[in-house]
Symmetry: C2
Subunit: 410 residues, 2 copies
């Protein structure tokens, strides 16, 4: 029986999870692929560290050694940094290897180039593990895109932030306390910036955008805000209104552009993302034929992510043609119609009644200086310029505004 030779770059949680799963599920993989999968080499950083790796595997700190192996079919990349990782993958493609990556930052930066290069060399690129761990969101989008035109993708893409927001609400913790709890459980890094400032979710959103719409918004035009400004008081206020703070990445197709944001949003209990708690991730996809579907599951973790990598292994070994973006990029007729800027619903904190601008329609006076109001985004931003301490958060799935299915053209 012929053999598929795989190299793993990086032996952290994802790399090791993949290595172990390949061994524990060898029989299944052979049945599906018709070939035996063999890990030929593993790229590591520190040679001194003790690792439980079979002696047949080349364990090296030099990528060149891996590239020079007599047979190499697939390179699985599970490194955190984007450089020089990208160069490794470029070289792997040029050698004729399929590549699989779990590295969102790298893929958000270099995905387009790698996909193009792969097309030229007739190899495939798997990146299911870059977004939402074990939830098969990339594969589902690929499949939907066979005929659907996607209009909006909304997701809870960072489990750490979602865990912190859930803990703050459920256990009445401060942000700092909840962050510490996340760190103790291994859900947050010692330096949590990437997660709590929204960078991680931002990269994932850009990867989804490229797949769903064939393009990305200008990165600088994307509103990116983390959860560090969310206080216990804000969470308490939201709860009184029947709302929950969720850190939501949203990309939607308007007539002439993509509009994307990655920020804390107040979500009503009618919305499918309201119930996504703890380290769970979820993605809600609106498309023209199917309507809305939601996928929910573990967004990280050794084995869920390993499963995504192995699904990619099957995908690349079947070497399907890269068709990302072909359909959607030229399509604009099913975009959500942008009738000027639309009014949205907002929670506004830190504003006295007499300071409310007439353009802003009060829906509910929550308490002291806290309001639920309807306004266009630019009006709220104008108001915020006048009042330095003003906080405002968009509300979706409640107060009978926004997210109406009628906005989605069928």
């Amino acid at each position: 029986m012929s053999v598929i030779k795989v190299a793993i770059l990086g032996f952290g949680t994802v790399g090791e999870g993949f290595y172990r799963t390949i061994q524990s599920h060898a029989e299944e993989l052979t049945a599906v692929l018709g070939k035996k999968v063999e890990v030929a080499a593993i790229l590591i950083k520190n040679k001194q560290k003790k690792r439980d790796i079979s002696k047949d595997v080349l364990v090296t700190t030099e990528f060149a050694e891996i590239l020079n192996l007599p047979q190499l079919d697939v390179v699985v990349e599970a490194i955190v940094d984007k450089d020089p990782t990208y160069i490794f993958l470029k070289k792997a493609i040029e050698r004729g290897c399929h590549i699989i990556t779990a590295n969102k930052e790298m893929f958000a930066h270099y995905g387009e180039e790698l996909l193009e290069l792969a097309k030229k060399h007739h190899v495939s690129v798997g990146y299911e593990a870059t977004v939402a761990g074990g939830i098969p969101v990339i594969q589902t989008l690929r499949q939907l895109l066979n005929v659907n035109r996607v209009q909006q993708v909304q997701g809870i893409l960072n489990g750490t932030s979602n865990f912190i927001l859930t803990e703050m609400r459920e256990k009445k913790l401060s942000f700092a306390q909840a962050l510490r709890a996340a760190q103790e459980k291994g859900f947050a890094e010692a330096n949590p910036t990437n997660d709590v400032e929204g960078f991680d979710a931002f990269y994932k959103a850009m990867i989804l955008s490229r797949l769903a719409f064939g393009e990305e918004p200008n990165w600088h035009s994307v509103e990116r805000m983390g959860i560090t400004s969310i206080t216990s008081e804000l969470i308490h206020t939201a709860e009184r209104l029947g709302l929950r703070f969720k850190h939501i990445a949203s990309i939607k197709k308007l007539s002439h552009q993509l509009k994307a944001s990655v920020k804390p949003v107040l979500v009503g209990n009618e919305h499918p993302l309201y119930h996504v708690e703890g380290v769970q991730n979820a993605v809600n996809i609106s498309s023209d034929i199917v309507g809305q579907i939601t996928l929910q599951g573990p967004g990280a973790g050794m084995f869920p992510t390993a499963s995504a990598v192995i699904e990619d292994l099957v995908y690349v070994c079947q070497n399907r043609p890269e068709s990302q973006g072909i359909l959607s990029s030229s399509e604009t007729n099913t975009a959500i119609q942008e009738q000027g800027q639309q009014e949205e619903t907002w929670l506004i904190v830190g504003l006295q009644k007499n300071a409310i601008d007439p353009s802003i329609k009060e829906i509910e006076h929550v308490e002291d200086e806290t309001w639920v109001a309807k306004a266009k985004k630019e009006e709220i931003e104008e108001l915020a310029r006048k009042h330095q301490d003003l906080l405002y958060f968009q509300i979706i799935g409640a107060f009978e505004i926004e997210q109406k299915p009628t906005k989605i053209a069928l």
Copy 2:
């Protein structure tokens, strides 16, 4: 450019939705398939009925005429009855056509035979539309099964029942009133037996079982109960306990057998199916590597179902090998361990305190003759034999019993 010739059997909601979508999304389909899709023929029942079908299409009441077409690549079946539909599909396969079906009753009865026959004739079978409409549950399971071993599938598979239960709770309607509302909205047939007695969900569960586990439980051993016994009072009691009635199909793999049920269950708000409301469907899949993922979306409707059929069209035209069931059927080592019969949590209605058997542990006295209790299923059934009017419903996702992730071996 070469052409894919398709015949549609049946021109009801699904057949017509498919026909229209093929026309509205012709460009996308051609881009994906590299071939033009052409509807060559449509099988109808009543020649008198006026239909908006292009003159180039053969519209006939005779299947033989369709089978004799000079070119025929794919037969899409969207009929309701199982006979003689099965014979049509058999003949289509024997002629070398791929088949796609949206007919759950037919496919639950004859799916195994059709899949085997298709294998012999090197054609593919698409049946995404038989379960959960536009939610890509079949495709997701296929993909997960590439390496995961599935342990349990739980789903809300009948939108009509879920709509009725939701209306009863939200609008305080009786079963009869909610059923009428469903009929007025076109969510329920004039004769609703198939939906409200659980047959529809049962067929879908059997189809999922064959895919997820490579086999079906003995049909007669499956507990099947519809929602007709659910009264407003029961719904009210459930609500006071923070629970919701959901009609749930469940199939799980125990060491030596599959255990399946299709019945109303009380669901706590920690459970992913608690929040699935109205005509929505959802499927929760537990598997050994990924853990739990949930898919939610529209379970029926002209366009969601048409989307599923078209996804199948892409699938069969790529003519992937049929691999259903190969992996899981021989695997038992990841089955949920059955340590004798386990205790479960129940809502018991119609039992006086002094009649409670010592084997049944009271957790909460809800009111008069209503209890939440822990017991093995056989003990509850024994109790029900003694007390004719006793009603009992399993509770999941609440009272800290059942559905613990610890029961799922990783």
